[in-house]
Amino acid sequence: MSLFRLEGVARSVRLPDDSRLDILAGVDLAVDAGEHVSIVGRSGSGKTTLLNLLGLLDEPTAGEIVWDGRPLSALSSRDRDRARGRDIGFVFQQFNLLSGRSALENTIVPLLYAGTDRFWKRRSIATAMLERVGLGERLASTPEHLSGGEQQRVAIARALVRGPKLILADEPTGALDVETGARVMRLLDDVSRATGAALITITHDPAIAALADRCYRLDAGRLAPERSGAAA
């Protein structure tokens, strides 16, 4: 069974002049547990909108998203919040770390909304995850004192700390130089494979996209297979 399926998903917005702008149209996509999928596209092609839909942050205006066997339309707002916290980890282009909070405190954030056991063991779980991404020595450092690569590693640790089924990475190397970006991508790929989480990378960089098992291109709101990825 797929981890999730998008069936004829469309997303449009109403503009101030009352006209309609179609951002996504007829998107079909199925991703299995542990798969690594990349989606490439130019700016304005609808990549971020698709990411928001996959991350249960937004709802389609047409079509259906089936998440873990259940249609999204059947989930309440609270159920979606909980499913997002439990099953999805985000890695953002601009890292989106909480300023003024240490690497450890940032990594702890998702555990504040986890169950009882993980809440009370939050420090040890977050510490282990930061050690796993090579930041065991930087636990107390705030984002202001970390390099871009280190900040993205903290973001990866935060995304993985609750053991999600799906990692959504939005331009994860967009704010990094080529060498650091390649190292971060390798880390993301390694850690997601080791934990069995599916990884969807949204990028405009063909080299990053090539690391995935399957690659799709998003063009004017339509999703089409680009080629078979690295596994092929």
């Binding site: 909980r82 916290g85 985000f90 953002f92 954030v109 504040l112 909304y113 809440f119």
Partner: protein, 414 residues
């Protein structure tokens, strides 16, 4: 059990989240919390100072008229009070029979002359029985009050007030100082203690000397009803006061001829409604009113700052929601930030009030001459903390509603 554990975890996580937020936003919220803390200190301090001042006023009143319930016993005919010695003799078996532990006479007699280094000192006299000290909360500053053993001593024991003590050269009590009293007869008395002066003017008074009634009667000229008067007081449990007064009155009336009127009446402040302490309530209410206005302004400032803080934290709220925070959790989290902040300010405010009221200068100012200083009233501290938490909750609701309306997608791109 699991549900309970889960609920506890949620509460703990929300409080920790609130506290972490406060730490991160400390500069922004500090200024508004200073206002909350000071207002809580003012409210708590006003309530607590009120109870100390009330105790001070009550003690002052009790020194003058007796503690609850004090019965004053008098027997007089058309010419005035009858023989006080006879009254004491008739009262003695009744006091024994009714099990009254505290009873004393107080003779308002003639001045006594004390030999001092600077010459003869004409002091006021206060002749009492040993129980008088406890019955009227006489504050002993140095040494001790009379004991029953003093009644059996050959040399009279005396206490002097601070004015008389200074006039006598402030002799050290550890050296058992004596003073020569000149009266109808003269005697050398040992000064066993110094009491706080009831007379505020050193200019007009050479002080007061306290001595036991029997010693006074030995030294002073025979009591002249035109000059001297004798007050006989009983200190009894409040609940039994009325019944005891009726019984003692009836017994004494039976022993006197009908031409003599016997009065046994309560004369302590509690019997006539508490006196000056009730006036204090208005002062206390006024202080609490002013503090409440300060608190309201501080709360409005807190709402304002929290609103600004929430608007600055739109992206952060979006991130938290992306990682699983539900709308309810965000709402409670923002309210909790406010509550944790004001509770912290409240604790500081209560601590300021406690420290201020422990200050000897403040104690002296509001509780002058207090014998039994009341402990810091727990009720005042609880009121202060509840007010702080309540203000935090109310001030947090509006920003929390704004926080919940944040759209996650826009927030993350913010």
């Amino acid at each position: 059990m699991n549900r309970l554990r889960e609920s506890f975890t949620t509460v703990a996580a929300t409080v920790i989240e609130g506290w972490n937020e406060l730490r991160a936003q400390r500069t922004r919220v500090l200024m508004s919390l200073i206002g909350v803390g000071l207002a809580v200190a003012a409210i708590t301090g006003a309530v607590a100072a009120g109870s100390i001042a009330e105790q001070s006023i009550r003690e002052g009143e009790e020194r003058g008229s007796g503690r609850a319930a004090s019965l004053s016993v008098n027997a007089f005919d058309d010419n005035g009070p009858t023989d006080p010695v006879l009254l004491a003799e008739r009262l003695e078996p009744l006091v024994e029979r009714f099990g009254i532990d505290y009873h004393s006479r107080r003779v308002y007699g003639e001045p006594l002359a004390l030999e001092s280094p600077s010459g003869l000192l004409r002091t006021e006299s206060a002749a009492v029985d040993p129980a008088w000290g406890a019955m009227r909360r006489i504050p002993v500053e140095h040494g001790r009050w009379f004991t029953e053993r003093d009644e059996r001593m050959l040399a009279p024991a005396v206490l002097v007030d601070e004015i008389a003590w200074e006039n006598l050269g402030s002799p050290a009590l550890g050296e058992h100082p004596t003073v020569r009293i000149q009266g109808e007869r003269s005697a050398t008395a040992e000064i066993v203690g110094v009491v706080a002066s009831q007379n505020s003017s050193r200019e007009w008074s050479a002080g007061t000397v306290y001595l036991l009634v029997d010693d006074y009667l030995e030294l002073a000229p025979p009591l002249d009803p035109m000059i001297s008067s004798v007050e006989t007081s009983l200190w009894v449990p409040e609940a039994e006061a009325e019944a005891l007064a009726d019984a003692i009155r009836a017994e004494l009336r039976a022993q006197y001829p009908v031409t003599i009127s016997v009065q046994v009446e309560r004369n302590d402040p509690a019997a006539w409604g508490g006196g000056a302490a009730t006036g204090l309530l208005w002062l206390q209410l006024g202080l609490v009113g002013v503090a409440s206005i300060v608190l309201l302004l501080a709360a409005l400032s807190l709402v304002n700052i929290t609103m600004v803080t929430v608007r600055h934290r739109v992206r952060e709220i979006g991130i938290r929601r992306a990682f699983g925070a539900t709308g309810r959790r965000v709402f409670v989290g923002v309210v909790m930030e406010s509550v944790v902040g004001t509770a912290f300010a409240g604790v500081i405010g209560v601590a300021i009030a406690v420290l201020a009221l422990q200050n000897p200068w403040v104690r002296e100012l509001i509780g002058d001459g207090i014998v039994e200083p009341p402990p810091f009233p727990i009720g005042a501290a609880v009121v202060g903390l509840l007010v702080a938490v309540g203000v935090g909750a109310v001030a947090g609701v509006l920003p929390a509603l704004v926080a919940v309306r944040v759209r996650v997608i826009e927030a993350i791109r913010f």
